[in-house]
Symmetry: C2
Subunit: 224 residues, 2 copies
């Protein structure tokens, strides 16, 4: 009854075509219903098969979820690694390019990264713990980047780098909530806006020495 047989990929085939199709559909569903809110029957129906057949490709619902979250990280890491800007470029250009890459991973390579970002916190702890190391690895790439820039003296020294990074992550990741690839704002312009806001802020006048801190930010509270 199926129209044709899928060709096997020539690569060592970590992920067969069938598996990928299922993951695509499942991720889309999970993105707007959550993991627990998406049933195996729904996933199966969305790719035109019956629920039981899913177990020909995955051992369990959790395995599907895990695969999606992992692919989400892969996409981010690959995007980061593929940034076409040399580390010798000026800080603003470096930053902008990496912001663009991260936003790209959220919108341009399937729903995987978006699912990862939005549902990680409510994932079963077994799934979550298995992914944490890879997640940390990606965050470390960013840490390294920011430290490199900071060591060049381009950053203000009254702001904690770890906090700055987490705030930037939040700003980027939450674009999922409102940005639309097909809308009037281009993703390149979005990246520029986010990067500029991160780098220079929104105020007209330049940064004062003391910033906004009420009495000077205590530095003891450093976060990685």
């Amino acid at each position: 009854m199926t129209t044709h047989v899928e060709a096997r990929q020539s690569v060592p085939a970590l992920e067969s075509v069938a598996r990928s199709r299922i993951l695509d559909s499942a991720a889309e569903l999970i993105l707007d219903q959550g993991f627990a809110g998406t049933s195996m029957r729904e996933v199966a129906a969305s790719v035109g098969i019956k629920a039981g057949s899913l177990y020909h490709h995955f051992a369990s619902k959790e395995e599907i979820f895990s695969a999606i979250l992992e692919r989400g990280i892969e996409v981010m890491v690959d995007s980061f690694a593929a940034v076409p800007v040399a580390v010798t470029e000026p800080p603003e250009a470096l930053l902008r390019a990496h912001v663009r890459a991260h936003l790209g991973s959220l919108f341009e390579f399937g729903p995987y990264t978006a699912v990862h970002v939005t549902t990680f916190r409510s994932a079963p702890s077994s799934v979550r713990e298995a992914i944490v190391p890879r997640r940390d690895a990606y965050e470390a790439m960013w840490s390294t980047l920011l430290h490199r820039i900071a060591s060049g003296g381009a950053f203000r020294d009254d702001q904690d780098l770890g906090i700055a990074r987490l705030v930037l992550f939040g700003a980027m990741n939450s674009t999922i909530e409102w940005f639309d690839l097909d809308g009037s704002l281009a993703i390149d312009d979005l990246a520029d806006a986010v990067a500029t806001q991160f780098w220079q802020g929104v105020s007209r006048e330049g940064p004062s020495k003391e910033g906004l801190s009420r009495e000077g930010l205590s530095r003891e509270a450093a976060i990685q």
Copy 2:
């Protein structure tokens, strides 16, 4: 078998003590399991009663969820309205105070706002649509605030206000993911860091006229 009878509140009692206790526990559970991932029996057990008894206080699971999301907005709106800084204050102070208020609503008044922010996108559309107007009202309060500041000329004019606001929201809301009230970083310092980063950015040198934009950000893509 119950130890005591709850005293009725003297206020018109929009929310009885019993209802509030249930909402508290339910919100906590939903915060780290999601709506679909949290069962009525779980909620009931967390307040020491049986599932059926929940229906003495709420008509359905959805009603519990709705009540939580609505309270989440209430907390935000109340916090915003209670900001003890006059609009005549300098922009940085105004901003910092409102950032502090929003962060407070996320961490200091129960899990409601946090639940709202993290689970809104995966809520059943019936629930979501009912809440959208109130949500918009809160966002409008921020829009008004930012426009007031902008009309004073304090903002750079090459950045879209709507985007800036959404990015700020993202930065604030995603602190849920990593900030810990009982950690070494005080929430006041967090607010300072976020506000400073929003206002001045992280770079040392002042904003250049052209910013980071590749060729000048197109303004047509204005977002509310």
